[in-house]
């Protein structure tokens, strides 16, 4: 049995089902990220683990103990809220010490643990201040400090960086990753930002509409998205999607044509399932899987916008059949809007059947 086992849980609000049967397992010390668009049920799922939301059906167990209906305090989890949820009338010290104070931990031990957490988070100089005297990043640290001193079995983060500006968000992201390395605790992290998910997670759980779309390491999700949704959601800039048609299908390889392509492309197997010949499919290509090839182009697009990031360039273009295409290239491409962009593909495109399921994935 895993350290955290979520088995087929359902959350019902009246007639509305927000979480529709989700099963997830996490090992001790793992960093799991729940990612998905707003309303996908990721925060609700996190709050169910914390015990702040009642679980309608299914079970949640931590460290071998069934805690589905346990009181939040008995679950040994700590949560960092998006709004930080710091007590505004208490000093930073008291905020961090609060849980230990009400649980009658000896004063000397409280002090030692608060100072230790403050040292890890570099907020020793702020202990006497009130939350309103702190910056957003400092408040975030205090909120994390309050979680650390509890020595919880699981850390829960509910979109903790959403209220910070872009630069600080990047910085805190690195610090949370460092913190995970340093204390090695199990962490569950909710975000709608796929970059946070990709950079922090050992494993990512992609949720949509209360269901798990795919679970896997960041690399797995990026390289082998199970369906169109995951393919489009993970990765920035987004994957380019082109319409396709199956010319021939066999276990070893399939041939697809596209109105955007100059000639059919061969995609090597193995495949988990095969589409019918002549059926329509969607082809997915990552921004870095295009290269400029004027001698023997597979497709030709027209440049619309180029974004120069210094070390690399992102090109937004439109294919001859009218689909938008994004290419990323290292270095500086000297392209102007309206220029013809002859492209070849590096590697084979991802192929998704009419139901949006990747041919590499098993049918549900």
């Amino acid at each position: 049995m895993s350290f955290l086992t979520i088995d087929n849980v359902i959350k019902q609000f009246g007639n509305l089902q927000v979480v529709k049967g989700v099963s997830i397992e996490a090992e001790k010390g793992e960093f799991i990220v729940f990612v998905g668009p707003s309303g996908c049920g990721k925060s609700t799922l996190l709050r169910m683990i914390a015990g702040l939301e009642e679980t309608s059906e299914g079970t949640i167990s931590i460290d071998g103990e069934d805690l589905t209906h346990a009181d939040p305090a008995d679950r040994h989890v700590a949560m960092v809220f998006q709004s930080y949820a710091l007590f505004p009338h208490m000093s930073v010290y008291d905020n961090i010490a609060f849980g230990m104070q009400i649980n009658k931990v000896p004063k000397a031990e409280i002090k030692a643990r608060v100072l230790e957490a403050a040292r890890i988070l570099q907020i020793e100089a702020l202990l006497e201040r009130k939350p309103r005297q702190l910056s957003g990043g400092q408040r975030q640290r205090v909120a994390i400090g309050r979680a650390i001193v509890r020595k919880p079995k699981i850390f829960l983060f509910d979109e903790p960086l959403s209220n910070l500006d872009a630069e600080l968000r990047t910085q805190m992201r690195v610090e949370i990753a460092k913190l995970h390395q340093e204390i090695g605790a199990t962490m569950i992290y909710v975000t709608h930002d796929q970059v946070e998910a990709m950079t922090l997670a050992d494993r990512i759980v992609v949720l949509r509409g209360g269901l798990v779309e795919q679970v896997g390491s960041p690399a797995e999700l990026y390289d082998r998205p199970a369906n169109l949704f995951v393919a489009g959601f993970i990765g920035s800039p987004r994957m380019t999607f082109l319409p396709g048609r199956i010319e021939a299908a066999g276990d070893a390889e399939i041939r697809v044509s596209s109105s955007a392509f100059a000639r059919p492309q061969t995609i090597p197997g193995p495949f988990a399932h095969l589409p019918d010949v002549n059926s329509t499919v969607t082809l997915g290509l990552r921004p870095e899987s295009f290269r400029i090839d004027a001698t023997d182009p597979v497709l030709t697009a027209t440049v619309e916008i180029t974004e120069h990031l210094g070390g690399s360039t992102i090109v937004h273009a439109r294919t001859s059949d009218g689909n938008s295409l994004v290419m990323a290239t290292s270095g500086r491409a000297e392209l102007c809007p309206g220029d013809a962009l002859p492209l070849a593909c590096i590697g084979a495109p991802h192929v998704f059947d009419a139901q949006g399921l990747s041919l590499a994935a098993t049918r549900r």
Partner: protein
Amino acid sequence: MMKAGSNVSRARRRRKETLTGLLFVAPALVGFLVFYLLPTLRAIQISLTDWNLMRAPKFVGFANYTKLLGDENFWHSAWVTFAYVLYNIPIQTALGLLLAVLSDRLARAVSLRAVIIAPYLISNVVAALVWLMMLDPILGLVNGFLEIVGIGRQGFLASPDQAMVSVAAISTWRHTGLTALLFYAGLQAIPRHLYEAARLEGAGEWTMFHRITLPLLRPVLAFVLVTSLIGSFQVFDVIAVATAGGPSNSTRVILWYIYENAFKFNKMGYASAISVVLFVTLILVTLLQMRLLKADQSDLT
């Protein structure tokens, strides 16, 4: 030349802005001057005279104030008023707070809040009349009930020992809903996440109440205490309807004593002097309260 010209136009513009500003505050300013400041100054002026409304007022200096110090009836009325405040405020505040917290944590239904606030929609005079009938020693509903359960009939408003407590109970009944509603509004300003964070740490309802709710409610608490205290010191209409200061002066509060002096004994100067003393006392009490409760500071901003 240019500089002088721009200075003139700037001064003109500023004068125009001041005028506009004054126009905006004019309605409130006129109300304050006519209904508050002028009567106050006039009361101070009258308090220095002997005036029975028939003859012209005669200046007597501080004679009314020195007389006040030795007036047993005045001290008695001050004591009765203080007792009223003592019965009224703690119970009303605690009950209001309890109702607010309960309806916030358990049942956040609009209909429930409507029921809680209902007594406040009745005027003091009507409330006093209703309770006067309910508490009647012979015909009253309450005494009928008490007899059935075996406690026996009580004097209530007709008993010198129970009249003040009864008046305080009527006021509490009428005002608790308002107090509860004010606290309820204050509770809405406290973020829910604070309670969730506390619950995760193992805090029970009582811990959350006194470690989170109460400290964060302090500005509302200060407002409620200041306004209800001032209101209690000025209790008049319930007394006028229910007891008229009796029985045996047991409910002769300061305002009733002022009223008697002014309109029964025609001692306008003396009545004004008591009013001024009450006025100064209330200002001091209010300042002290605001200071103690740090009413001007909120943690929730």
